[in-house]
Symmetry: C2
Subunit: 335 residues, 2 copies
Amino acid sequence: MKEKILLAHGSGGKLSHDLIREVFLPAFDNKFLRELTDSAVFNRQGSRWAFTTDSYVIRPLFFPGGDIGKLAVSGTINDLAVMGAKPIFLSCSLIIEEGLSLSTLKRVISSMRQTADDAGVEIITGDTKVVEHGSADGLFINTSGIGLLSTKSETSSPRIKAGDKIIINGSIGDHSIATLSGREEFDFRTQVKSDCAPLNDLIGKVLSQSSGVKLMRDPTRGGVATILNEMAMEQEFGIELWEERVPIKQETIAISEMLGFDPLYLANEGKVIFIVEDEEAKKVIKILRSHPLGKQSEIIGRVILEPRGKVYLRTCIGTTRVLDMLSGDQLPRIC
Amino acid sequence: MKEKILLAHGSGGKLSHDLIREVFLPAFDNKFLRELTDSAVFNRQGSRWAFTTDSYVIRPLFFPGGDIGKLAVSGTINDLAVMGAKPIFLSCSLIIEEGLSLSTLKRVISSMRQTADDAGVEIITGDTKVVEHGSADGLFINTSGIGLLSTKSETSSPRIKAGDKIIINGSIGDHSIATLSGREEFDFRTQVKSDCAPLNDLIGKVLSQSSGVKLMRDPTRGGVATILNEMAMEQEFGIELWEERVPIKQETIAISEMLGFDPLYLANEGKVIFIVEDEEAKKVIKILRSHPLGKQSEIIGRVILEPRGKVYLRTCIGTTRVLDMLSGDQLPRIC
């Protein structure tokens, strides 16, 4: 392992996984953390709870389609929702660089409140720290969240098996492209807006109308490619991804080519990947497409028996290749 | 209000209060936050929970008696414990500056684990972000925590009344003095170590053996003076603090005089202030002194009827004066 922390340790890719497996898991060893899911799930007093945390360090603070406040509320809600939990309460802890304008802070806080209201969650506890000018970059936000799972969901979902379908609720890469367009060092204009949004309502509708969902993850840092790898890793199945079926905007393709990014590794902040029972896939697509955040939903792949633990990409020209998780750091400070 | 965020907005004193009342409360308005307690308390599914969050930005990362990891676990445990909750689970979210040595990170994580083990809590979910060199200062840690309250404690504690006693579990200012001694810009040596410690066991023992405790707060940022003001603020009572009874180390007095600090405003990280029924005060002192973290416990004041909402200091020379909450920023980045 490297002797110093690199930007890539925070990218969600290979080095992030190394850090978790070599530093955090051995130290904080317990059955909850070992699951490495988006939220920890625990039972207490006859109820089933999810608990999660995320710090947001995105640059710039405001970007087309959102801002760090909307992101901080949406991201933590989504980490609860993909575990099947109904998000209830959030915390909000700010690290502010001395000199931040009060009007900027107010805009961010107002955006957090709006997003929380829209999603039906309450921000009930908080903290503020201020560090000297030069010791942070404007504003960092941590939100932690608590959600409730139905005790029904305790019965483990049916086993994932070959033939199950992979579904996503819309176009990939929007968040990364929109964020980059807001950075001084990148000189391009785009109509693409961040997809940043709370997904609890969308996911709730799917779960209440179909029993076919076996697993959900949100493809944030590391993108669709990395999250599919996490879903397949150490499992008794593999995943085949169909490139031509993955929804993506033409502008995202063009900008990615220009900047040398692979869109499959771009972060999303309003997307969820479902593994769904084959027989239920069309129904789930129909439910998703009836929701404002799922209009471009598509079946983008399937579960395969071999090679297990890996993700195969079937490209538009018909070839297949192994799709690895992100190695190195494609885009720092995207969330 | 100021147009830019100043260090003093994070000091826990007057400007922090302004920020909470003028920005956060109006935006995140709800009954939980409005209490302005160390943790939010809510009822769900027949249980009573406490939820809290804190970000730690202390400089330096290692100081006599502790480090940022021990502090991050202890501080959040204490915010739950002073609400009468039994801390159960913590989250851990890191913001790391690119270039931090892996061995430093491992030392901090190991300290977090040790402190959590000692306190009987588990760290069950986490997040890591890395920002460019120069965009943060080494390492910032957020911990959020969940605790359970007995439903018994739902019956509101007996009303605070004149004659109730103010108790603290030991000497003040140790944490601030120890932290400063670790900073390059201060040129002094001291034997004083930070009091940084999880107080849940100490508080649990008091609550299980005495029913006389009416209110608890931990005098962290802003120190004893500020926290007593928060306890009395907008209440039907005042507080009289007896200077000569406040436990303080000779070295702390000497260093405070040298640096121009008032020890009553120095942050503590292993102290709790109790308001206790007069008849139970001696018993509580006995329980506290039988615990390793309470050997120097003292009754340091009493609740008075007038003037209400204020804190009066009865000085060693017999005069009295109003003791206000911290205004301005005495010591940045102390927690």
